[in-house]
Amino acid sequence: MEFVLAIIVGILATSAFYLMLRRSLVKVILGMVFLGNAVNLTIFSVARVTKGLAAFIPENASTLEGTYADPLPQALILTAIVIGFGTQAFAIALFRKAFQKVGDDDLDKMNSTDIMCNEDIPGDK
């Protein structure tokens, strides 16, 4: 089971960094999403992995015994997913703003503080 997860994480991490090495900002953001998923899955798979045994305490019991999916990494990942979404939403909004200014999503046109704002500076073509 871990082996399958390991391969899936490998695929996700590869895609993530291939995308992040692109010049298109959209692809970089997509890469961030992939990377977030890859890291979450990594945390998930280095803990105790079980199939179909959620960490619920049975109806008539007060403690959980036997084999169960590890609840601690799940709690951490849950936080990570939500925060990842926050970052992602901000990145998308920032991209939208940058695209309006530069008119392009090429990162190489965004590495200076002023060329992109040419239309804002009177007398500068």
């Binding site: 089971m1 871990e2 082996f3 399958v4 997860l5 390991a6 899936i8 994480v9 490998g10 695929i11 996700l12 991490a13 590869t14 895609s15 993530a16 960094f17 291939y18 995308l19 090495l21 692109r22 010049r23 959209v26 997509l30 999403v33 992939f34 899955l41 998930f44 798979s45 280095v46 105790r48 992995v49 079980t50 199939k51 045994l53 960490a55 619920f56 305490i57 019991a61 007060s62 403690t63 959980l64 015994e65 169960y68 999916a69 609840p71 799940q74 709690a75 849950l78 936080t79 997913i81 979404f85 926050g86 939403a89 901000f90 998308i92 703003k97 090429d106 190489d108 590495n111 200076s112």
Partner: protein
Amino acid sequence: MLIAVLSGFIVACIVPLIFKLNRKVAGALLSILPLSLFIFYLQFLPNVLAGEKILTTFYWIPSLKINLNFMIDGLNLLFALIISGIGFVVYLYASAYLAKSEKIVPFYIYISIFMASMLGVVTCNNTLALFVFWELTSISSFLLIGFNHEQERSRYAALQSLLVTAGGGLALLASVIIIGQIAGTYEISQMSAFHSNLINNALYPSILILFLIGTFTKSAQFPFHFWLPNAMEAPTPVSAYLHSATMVKAGVFLMIKFLPILGGTELWMWLLGGFGGWTMLMASTMALKQTDLKRLLAYSTVSVLGTLTMLIGLGGEKAISAMIIYLFAHSLYKGALFLTAGIIDHETGTRDIRNISGLRKYLPITALIGVLAALSGMGIIPFIGFIGKEMLYETALLSGQYSTLFITISVISAVNIFAVMAYSGILPFFGEYKSPSEHVHEAPFQMTSGPVAFALLGLVSGLFAGSTVDGLTNKALQSIFPSASHHLALFHGFNLPLLLSALTIVVGLIFVLNRKSLVEFIEKIRIPEYFFPSKWYDYIFNGTLSFAEIQTKFLQNGHLRYYIFTILALFILLVGGSFFGFNTSGSILNAFAISIERSIAGIDIYDISMLITVLIASVFALLSQGRLSAIASMGIVGALISLIYIIYGAPDLAMTQLSIETLSVILFVLVLYKLPRFFTYSKLKTRIRDLVIALAFGSIFTMIIIFVSAYGKFDTGLSEYFAQTSYLIGHGKNIVNVILVDFRGFDTMGEITVLSIAAVGVYSLLRLRKQGGEQ
């Protein structure tokens, strides 16, 4: 005593307030500080003369042995009196000198900080605390040299002095730490007991060299001397105070203090004697050709500091007693001459000695000060400078097998200094009247009274040496050599030193009368630029800047993908590399075998189909030319991951993942649906390179998981605790939920905060767009 040292820092804080209250008397009011400090230190005089040492203790950081312990012995007291005494004169002088300057407030702030730090340096008994004061003097000196910061030369000189002296300070810190490690104490008064341990230690040469880098930079010894003449950019009171009388003597002070601790070796004698002697000779020769009053004095100060260093190098009771007298005399006459130079500059508007002469007509008092101070500096009987010079000659003659060398350079330097003193203190006042300014009139009382006192003190202490300075200088000598004593007298009888003095005066007079041809002669000596240490400084400085520039261009190239590339390459190298060094508990192949063996039984059709779908979706996301299709693939991957969470017993994660993924896709589509298709920016070769790097990174992730699952030992303690207590304590049956809202509720609160900040950020970015649209 702690309060005495700290008072300068406290006063520095209220300087602006005082000036706000009454600008006119503020300067005079502030002069009370050094005056009261002078009186405070003076009250220790009877005790010190009785042979006592006063020690106070204040624990600052005892665990690191950093304590504000202060000690007053003869030497410390002499320095403390010089610092507070000259401080008083300088405070008073500056109140008139800078009366019209807008920067008088920062001036008093800086100089108060300086005085406090300097008093700390000369009375502190703990080397680590001393280092703090030491660096504070460098910093306040930096601020004062850069006082006229609108001028580029001032900024250059300030930075240069800071880099040289503070850099040297770091070497000093290293050396006091090593000394502290060997001796087991950081208290100077306890260190001399470890003298033989220190000088026989294998680290002794490095200790000494580091120590001397610290003191040589501070006291402007070759090859670090160049910062001092440049420091003349500072206002004249600063030059008089920091750069002739006090701060530059801090290095000399520390060298005498450490003579019983590190001295007495061949290496000590050769390093100090050699560098000191060379500095003395070189600087006094270079001084001759200067035309700027302050630079004349600066080079002669460097030369005197060289003399002092040489005397400490020669060691011995005679040498130290000569050194103390020479130092005392120099503080008096050089302080007075600098202040005279300041008056001349203030009244005539120039410091170029070629443009001024005959000033005694309008500046009678200043002329008197200049002449008296210069005579002391020239070593004319009966001034204190004469006694100092006689003692120098005597020591040099007794310095063993190399005495011929030492006496020769001493006499040559004394002749040079003789001429320089005349150029700066006498010639401007005699001859035909010449001045670029028409309104030359005598300086106010605040500016003349101090230098007059110095000049007269130089005369009185010379005439009555046996009854005035004899006592304290004896005690200063005894704080180094407890059993030594000297008896100062003006006249030692007809002996070789007296003859040499006569020779000095005769040759010196020839130099004075033939200034022009002498300067021409010196100018003829051409030395290639790259021999000058000041050029080395420039080379090193510019070299560092260019290196930083190249490195910044390389690393901070402004392309996000190269940053990521660098991080990835390093990660792959370090983490990936460590896998191959992983031989203790198993190899990579072994880990694979174990992992496959464990997993093979559990793998079913869902796993395989998920794997294949993730692969296809990812490849599609990478290759797709359309934005929407790429986003769709991303959504598919996200949905599949939530499927994984469901299968592997994490329903909460699955729910969150699915809803977040849906939201993401919607957000992406909303923002991006209008945009054109992806444009292929990069070449095929680049893409292959990126793919290789990304693949290597992905494989490392896979390997990490496989290694952990094969060899990792999993600590379930915390999870078991949650499983046991989640219902009993947290009253919830869904353990993951209970952890989030109860056991780790604060984390969740932090998470909510992050989300709110992100929401605010997104909102303001969208608002910004609207306003932009309106424009």
